[in-house]
């Protein structure tokens, strides 16, 4: 008998919109769960992000390996169909503004009354309590509010968010983690489980190492804060490389490799705290030296010396890199009627178990199946996925 992915047989219904809940649901799908997305009437990702063959690449990537049904939840027939899915699910996810899912009639209390096995996760930007409860939030807003932008954004043109979607995806990953824990808890305690996740909670968790010194009575962190020096991107004769030197032995090896033994004898750089205190001067010295040879030369030289370093790839270079494909970090996702696109693969491998094949739904593609066979809907799609 072949082994199966760990969440095989777990049924997830996702009322989510945008990035957070869909990404969490997609992660659960790639762990083997069967996931059905009830399309939201305000699925703004379908309208605001670059279009691709009738949908958007972001929609396809965020909803990989999920199924999709479109229902009008103001219509009694469609509401009854939605309940058929919800009543027989193990997990329900939603990330509307706080309280919206209650007003739609699918809040935790009513769902738990009809499905006492449910693991129910609500996610929002700022939670259900307090002066900011119910405020809308997407990734750039939480980057700004949480301090992420102040610590990681570019400062030359004012405060800037760094990358659109990072905290969305991180929050989705933490939802996935909480749901897995709740599924284990359900085995011991046969009760419905209610999880409340916030992007504020996830973002501040993501920043914990940057906050750590401050929380421990140190000075507030700044965007220039580093834990070691040298550490960062350095220009070479052709393109930048990343270099990190973690201790004195590595610093000696680094100085020797770049032909700058004078730096390790310099009192400003002789200890790790001294290097941090004088990192601006140290960076200038290193940049001047690395600019004398191309990146390939330095990468070979530094790797021979055991100094952590890497080429700073552009995204098209990273995407084409042989290790990306050899290790399975990227894969093709098939979208019905639209062809394939490249997207990130699950970062895990379970020994002896094949990954689920990459695919993504067109919005509403499984609606007819639900209308035809509501009683056996889950079984029908599980059969298709086998």
């Amino acid at each position: 008998m072949s082994r199966k992915l760990p969440l095989t047989g777990v049924r997830v219904v996702n009322f989510g919109v945008g990035g957070v809940a869909p990404f969490a649901a997609s992660q659960l799908a790639q762990l083997g769960a069967t996931v059905v997305k009830i399309e939201a009437p305000n699925e703004f990702i379908m309208y605001t992000l670059p279009p691709w063959r009738g949908l958007t690449t972001t929609y396809a990537a965020l909803n990989a390996n999920c199924r999709s049904v479109t229902l009008n939840l103001k219509d009694d027939t469609d509401r009854a169909l939605a309940w058929r899915v919800v009543e027989t699910a193990d997990v329900m996810l939603e990330n509307f503004r706080s309280g919206a899912i209650d007003r739609m009639g699918f809040g935790f209390a009513v769902v738990a009354a009809r499905n006492p096995r449910i693991v129910f996760c609500s996610s929002s930007g700022f939670g259900r309590e307090g002066e900011m409860a119910g405020l809308p939030c997407t990734d750039p807003h939480i980057q700004a509010f949480s301090g992420f932008a102040a610590l990681n954004g570019r400062s030359q043109a004012g405060e800037r968010v760094r990358y659109y979607g990072m905290i969305d995806l991180y929050t989705g990953q933490r939802i996935c983690e909480a749901v897995l824990a709740a599924l284990i808890a359900r085995q011991r305690r046969a009760q419905p489980q209610y999880i409340e996740m916030t992007m504020l909670g996830a973002a501040t968790a993501l920043l914990l190492t940057q906050f750590a010194g401050y929380l421990g009575s140190g000075p507030p962190p700044t965007h220039r804060a580093r834990h070691v020096a040298p550490d960062g991107l350095y220009p070479t004769a052709d393109q930048p490389i990343a270099v990190t030197v973690e201790d004195n032995a590595q610093f000696c090896a680094f100085c020797n490799a770049i032909g700058r033994d004078d730096l390790r004898a310099d009192s400003r750089f002789v200890t790790a705290p001294a290097r941090l205190a004088n990192m601006t001067v140290l960076d200038e010295e290193i940049a001047r030296t690395l600019a004398t040879a191309p990146s390939d030369w330095w990468l070979v030289t530094l790797r021979r010396s055991g100094v952590p370093c890497a080429r700073a790839h552009h995204d098209h270079e990273a995407r084409a890199h042989v290790d990306m494909w050899r290790r399975g970090n990227l894969r093709e996702i098939a979208v019905a009627g639209a062809g394939t696109l490249q997207a990130a693969a699950p970062p895990w491998d379970f020994e002896g178990i094949d990954q689920v094949a990459g695919c993504a739904p067109r919005p509403g593609q499984d609606t007819d199946l639900l209308r035809r066979a509501a009683d056996g809907f889950w079984e029908a799609i599980e059969k298709e996925e086998r």
Partner: protein, 147 residues
């Protein structure tokens, strides 16, 4: 803003609300100039760098708190850009952040609530020194497994 920056966001169906905000802050001509392409000057699109100085000039007389209230009054989405000190002491952080200052102390907790109750917090403390619990762990092992 006089004291920093804020976010500014309107959804695709909120063009009228965005125009009303522009009118109130003296950006009528700008709103006319961008026309149907208005959303690309608000969202994370290429034209935001072109539009940014217009918004910044128009909002320069406000504080972050004033600008956030103004944008929200028009139905837009806005929050202040905060420093680490501001976020860790914010009242909303006391309710939901994974790290926050409360009662004069730093606290940590998991980012989720279960069944409505905040996860237990613990006061911030530095990690144990390397090997601090070696003897305690070895002593707890069955005889013969500690060698």
């Amino acid at each position: 803003m006089r004291d920093g920056f804020v976010t500014l966001d309107f959804l695709p169906h909120q063009r009228a609300a965005w125009r009303a905000l522009c009118a109130e802050i003296g950006l009528d001509e700008f709103a006319d100039a961008v026309g149907d392409d208005w959303f690309s000057t608000v969202g994370m699109e290429d034209r935001i760098d072109w539009a940014r100085p217009h918004y910044e000039r128009a909002l320069a007389r406000f504080t972050r708190a004033e600008a956030v209230m103004l944008i929200r009054r028009h139905g837009g989405w806005a929050v202040p850009f905060q420093s680490p000190a501001e976020v860790l002491g914010h009242p909303q952080s006391l309710l939901y952040a994974s790290a926050f200052f409360g009662d004069g102390q730093a606290h940590l907790r998991l980012p989720w609530r279960i069944d409505g109750a905040p996860q237990a917090t613990r006061s911030y403390a530095v990690a144990p020194p390397l090997g601090a619990h070696t003897h305690e762990v070895l002593a707890a092992l069955p005889a013969g497994e500690a060698s």
